[in-house]
Symmetry: C2
Subunit: 404 residues, 2 copies
């Protein structure tokens, strides 16, 4: 029944889950207002400085009019991206690239281009929670195929994935290195997925925004490296993590499939253009000497070691050791990490400090899976990480609803 | 039949019309490459300088990390917006505002929040062509109710609008002042629409991005000024036109309907945040002394006079005189303005100069309506406008397919 005087909102607007990464933002604000300092391990917001070249580009910005740019991004930026990709064994031309407002928009556009209402996407779970929101906005269902904590969330059995394919399936979709698990898919795993995509003539979308962040000697294989996959492969990318420029909101969609590029351009033209000031700064960032990235990865390697060690030292906590990106999933001796995360913000602090984490259930498609896990973003400097995870230890000691 | 080795793209991706404003971008690039200078009357890209305050804010940007911001936009920016709106008789609080990546994203989010696949929107036509793309992305159909060239595109009879309402209708949607017609809806017209929205319990969305650009003593009434409409009214706004900062991509969705705000926030959180550098510049722009806007409007008033006079002086051309915004529709003595606009870029030039216009058919829902019209954006300085419209006169003389 509709209440008169209150028009109905959409089903997806009403039913959509809130992002696990930001759902406790209000509680965090209230904690801040009480004077409590919060260590933010909930969100992949690196504290590393953005490249000097990018900041200088802003400070020397010479345009008199902040005008629209090309809908697909400037040619010069796309040219620079092709050079960047070449270094990563990815051979593409500027025409294969559509610059977007963050990787988020690239995913939305990809789904707009390849799915019809009622279609399905297959994603190994856990997966980046917002994929489900983007899919919901398109009226598309995410079919999660479970990967296991015990294998550090390696690719599920390929037969399990194939079993989920049906006529509604439009794409296989992974994040590599994975957010939230930190798993780096091996070349053979990617090859198996590529073969499935070709066999069933569906798309294979890979979000590679954490490409550079690899540990323990891992190497990264891009979806665009596979021969025979050109028409099926869609690469999602972003400048946010690579250059610690999350607020810039510059990403891209890359594919050699001309039909997808043409369709995506229509959606791109309708929203006019990606933010041009940020694009200007990002173009400068690409020219930053490679030492910037080397140093970032060195720093994250250290933080990852710190995070893993600290987590493993907490009684009852297990951690799926990440090989890439800057997240990991930790299993805690609790039954409801939503409640625990909220409790830490509302009812727990030590010396006026607490921490914010992302409850992991939102990274799984099931209602109950992941409720004993949290996602940790090891994006703070090691000293702060140590303190934050010591607070986690103390919180688990004091938390009244724990299971051990 | 699907070709093996080529997965199918979506129906909307395949069928979507290309934006009339940008569809000839490729032909324009080729003309440029041949050394032909193009006067761009196709796109609402003002050549007025952006506010000094905004450019200074960029040049003195002090952040070390270009970090994510709040998904809903910073509190300080939303506070400043409430002060701005107060000056326009709009009484809202920061909690009613969601900052978006341009007005485009605000519209997409509004539709995500209020429509289900298969629903309908009623829009008087002609309308801003991209509304149809945004609707298509949501699986929603635009029902155009024709307004007449002869009335300068005033609101159609309210009975005609009501006759289009059915159980699938989710909203009435207008742009005021109107793009592409320049019509400024009168208070009584808006009141009649508001009453319809309340009577049928549907939303009333108004895109007011050209609020300040009014001519001949016109005044503007906002959708948020009507009593009793709070739950139905959704305001779409943008900084692009007001401050000549089109590339910044900062807009907002404003509504007192808490359910819509809550749903929109979920979509907003999934895409993380609006571009933060641009937001920083736009926040500074709001503080620009009011002389900036007064001067902009004075300048557009002059350009509008120039454009109208020049168009009326061309044999066989009729113009619907705009009362606001910076566009007008002109009826030309031709039968296919798509062909004509393309011909001007490909086969016409005088002293190596030509012009680009937006064929008007894309602003109408019918296949054939508007094919004898073009949209002119009078965004260039008067001297250039005179030259551009003289080129239009010469083009019409030389065009082989004209009707007179």
């Amino acid at each position: 029944m509709q209440t008169i005087g209150m028009p109905k909102i959409s089903r997806k607007g009403a039913n959509l889950p809130t992002s696990p990464i930001r759902k406790l933002a209000h509680q965090a604000t209230l904690a801040n207002e009480r004077g409590v300092h919060i260590y933010h391990l909930n969100i992949g917001q690196p504290d590393l400085p953005s490249p000097k070249s990018a900041l200088t580009a802003l400070r020397t910005y010479e345009e008199k009019v902040i005008a629209y740019g090309p809908s697909e991004g400037t040619k010069s930026f796309r040219m620079k991206l092709t050079t960047y990709y070449k270094k990563h064994n990815i051979d593409i031309s500027p025409e294969d690239i559509l610059v977007t407002t963050g990787a988020s928009e690239a995913i939305i556009m990809a789904l707009d281009c390849i799915t019809n209402e009622g279609d399905e996407l297959i994603i190994p779970e856990p997966f980046y929670a917002n994929y489900e929101t983007f899919a919901a906005a398109c009226g598309v269902k995410v079919i999660g195929v479970p990967s296991a904590f015990e294998t550090q969330f390696a690719l599920p059995e390929i037969d399990d994935i194939e079993a989920a394919i049906n006529p509604k399936t439009r794409a296989l979709f992974i994040c590599n290195p994975n957010n939230p698990s930190g798993y780096v898919y091996k070349k053979e795993e990617l090859k198996a997925l590529a073969e499935l995509a070709i066999k069933h003539d569906i798309f294979f979308i890979v979000d590679e925004v954490y490409r550079e962040f690899l540990y323990d000697g891992e190497t990264h294989t891009s979806v665009l490296e596979f021969e025979g996959l050109a028409q099926h492969a869609i690469l999602i990318d972003s400048m946010s993590k690579r250059y610690s420029m999350c607020g810039a909101r510059i990403g891209c969609l890359v594919t050699k499939n001309k039909e997808v590029v043409a369709a995506a351009l229509k959606f791109a033209q309708s929203r006019l253009c990606p933010p041009t000031i940020a694009l200007h700064a990002c173009e400068a960032a690409i020219d930053e000497p490679s030492a910037y990235l080397t140093e970032s990865v060195r720093e994250y390697t250290q933080r990852r070691t710190t995070a893993i060690k600290s987590l493993q030292a907490i009684p009852g906590v297990e951690v799926a050791v990440p090989k890439g990106a800057f997240y990991c999933l930790a299993r805690l001796p609790i039954t409801d990490s939503d409640h625990f995360a909220k409790w830490m913000l509302e009812s727990f602090s030590v010396d006026n400090e607490t921490l914010m984490v992302a409850p992991a259930n939102g990274f799984f498609s099931g209602d109950k899976t992941g409720k004993d896990m949290i996602r940790i973003a090891f994006v703070l400097e090691s000293k702060k990480l140590v303190r934050a995870l010591d607070l986690l230890r103390l919180a688990l000691e004091k938390y009244p609803n724990k299971t051990i």
